[in-house]
Structure formats: C-alpha cells, structure tokens
Symmetry: C2
Subunit: 219 residues, 2 copies
C-alpha cells in the first residue's frame, strides 16, 4: 500500500505557487497572513514556512516587518526571464541531444504528440484545450532537455519556466500557427541531432513568444 500522504505544508506550498503562476494571486498583492489563514485554512506558522520557501525561488518578495508580497511584473523582468530561459534551455538542449538514446526519442515523440493534439484543439477554437496546452507545452520543453544530465540545470530551468509561464498566462492569448510549426521543427531537428538548428529554432521560438507576450501586456 502506497503512502502518498503529503504534509499540510507541502499541499499549501503547491496551492500557493499555483495561485501565483496562474494569476489567482495578483502581482504586487500583499499576502496578509490572517486573510490567507482563512483562505487556505491553515495556521500562520505553516503559511510563513511556505511563503519563505517561495521567497527562495523568487515568486514572493519579503520585506522585514512589512510582510510578504507577490513578486511584481514588468516588461524588463519578462525580457530577463526570457533571456535566461534561452540561455539555459539552449545549453541544456545541446547536451540533451548529445546524450540521446532511443528511449528519449520515444518519450519526446510522445510528448510532442500530446502537445500537437492540444494545438489542433486550440485551432478549432476549443478553449477548454487551453489548460491542456499549457501542461503539454511545459512537458514537451522539459522532455527536450531531460537528457542534459544535470539536476541542477533542470531544477533552475523549472523555476525560470514557471516564471515565464506566469507571464504567458497573464496574456491568455495563443500565438497559433507560427508556434505549431516551431514545435514541429524543434522535434525534427532534435531527432536528427542537428544541434545548431534545434538551438536556433528554440531561441526564435522563445523570442517570438516573449515579443508577442510583451506587445499584449499593458504595463
């Protein structure tokens, strides 16, 4: 019998991080402890543990005797995040491709297949597919760098990806056909081990995404 029991702290951590990334908690919003206490139904100590952990990742800002605040957003921050994502993800992609095996190719094809399905649904204006697309986009990009053989790199990339995702979700629009083509190219270049073209495609993919996001973001 499996024991999947998570502590209260772990559950609240996931909830609050989700609420920040998905915009339920707004940028700059002050996180008053007694409000959160009733909202999430936990004690203050638990909340402070969770908020401190999120501080470490930079999703929350802490000011002594002033409390906790959801991290602010800005175009400058968005471009910084995008630049970091490009730097980390292209580097990881190169190593990943160099280390690839059949199992990885299979998993990558699988991840692509799911993403492509969600993309098609979105093209048919099935708006329910939005959250699915979000999930599969993340999984596809995680799979691309999975063989980079560096837990540290994967861990940092994950944080940066979530920060990037937060901006994407603030826009809510979907870049459509262009992005679909880029994902297909990313898959194909990875499978034939063309590192240069795979990296260039990834770089353009993120740059176009961030420009699109930026132009749709009123700040």
């Amino acid at each position: 019998m499996e024991n999947i029991q998570l502590s209260v702290t772990e559950n609240i951590f996931k909830k609050i991080k989700y609420d920040i990334v998905f915009g339920n908690l707004e940028p700059d919003q002050k996180l008053k402890l007694n409000l959160l206490q009733t909202e999430y139904n936990v004690s203050i100590s638990i909340l402070r543990e969770v908020l401190n952990r999120l501080c470490g990742d930079g999703f929350i800002i802490y000011k002594v005797q002033k409390g906790f605040f959801v991290s602010p957003i800005s175009k400058k921050d968005l471009y910084e995040i995008a630049d970091l994502r490009i730097t980390l993800e292209t580097h990881a992609l190169e190593i990943s491709i160099k280390n690839k095996d059949y199992e990885w190719e299979a998993e990558l094809l699988g991840a692509y297949h799911k993403l492509n399905h969600a993309e098609n649904e979105l093209e048919k204006n099935n708006l329910n597919a939005k959250s699915l697309w979000t999930k599969y986009d993340a999984e596809f990009h995680q799979m691309l760098i999975k063989k980079c053989n560096s837990l540290n790199l994967i861990r940092i990339h994950e944080v940066i990806f979530d920060k990037y995702l937060r901006y994407q979700l603030l826009i809510l629009k979907y870049r459509g056909k262009e992005s679909i083509k880029e994902h297909k190219d990313l898959l194909d270049y990875s499978l034939i081990s063309n590192i240069q073209k795979a990296q260039n495609t990834l770089r353009d993919h993120i740059k176009k995404g961030v420009d699109y996001a930026s132009s749709n973001l009123s700040l």
Copy 2:
C-alpha cells in the same frame, strides 16, 4: 538615523547559510530542530522558516516527516555547478562588457586591486589572507557581471557561485600563480572589450578551478 534592524529570522538565515557554505554544517548532516534550537538560540518556528528558505535555493534538502538535511556533495554535482557557472557567467559577462561605462571600469579596477593584494599575500604564505581572498574573489566576479542589466541573472548567479564556493572551501587549497594570471587577463580583456577572449579566459578559469577542486576532493 538609519534603521539597520534585521529580524531574528534574517540573522539566523545568514548564519545558517554561512555555516553550510563554509562547511561548519557538513554535507548530509541531519539538521535536528532541537539541537539547532540550542545552537542558534531561537525557536523552532524561526528555524523552520529559515530552513524552508534555504530549501528554495537548494542548500538544504527536505524530506516529509523526516526533517531537514544539508545538501549532499558529489563530483557530479560539482561539475554540474561549474558548468552552470560557466554558462551563466560567460553570458552575463558578454552583456556586461557591452553595457560598460567609466564608472564600471573604475569599480572593476578597484575590485581587481583588492583581489590582487590578497593574492600577493597568499603567495607570501600569509594564511590569514585566505578568507580575504575568498571575499575579494567573489566581489571581483560579481563586479565583472554587474552591468549585465538583469537582476534575475545576478540573483541566480549568486546562488550558483555560493554553491561553487562551498566546494572550493571544502578543498581549502589555493591554486596559486595560474589563477592570478587568469584574473589579470580577465580584467584586461574586459577593459579592452574583447568579449571572446574574456569569455574564453573565464571558461578556462572555472574549468581549471573545478578540475583542481575535483582532483583534491575525496568522494
């Protein structure tokens, strides 16, 4: 009158992080809360807040219902950290050099001067200079990337640098003359804006450092 009052939490955070980086708390060591309580003379709640924050940065590992542990070390981890430092620091250096101004040049020269002084003291076998060298080495490298114009990048680099430093301090030995030459080159290439050579020097500098560390590390 300035208000430099830090909360208890902030102070303990710095102390514990210092103790991890500088090896007073050993890798894999279990951080029992009541022991830490008497050691640092604070309540459990405070400790849990601090340990959670350090989890976010990866200096501490948390296992549900098992407690907190100082992150383990390994050669693989060291090489991952070094690779990340190279990736992040060369990228930041390029942008920094492109954005440079006279003020930065002046500050960089100042930082180099202090580092060079510490290096000379070490050459004279003045072992007290060791901790000074640690400080000035960090400051010199931070100054190199200061103009990269990305708080996110600087913040992440800082965490990686501290993780790298932790390994360096485990070795305690000093690489000597070679490293001195590299620092001088790093300064000169940055000042004449030779980005390629500055990046290559930095890459070699870190690679040689990590190889030196690795070969002196019994794991």
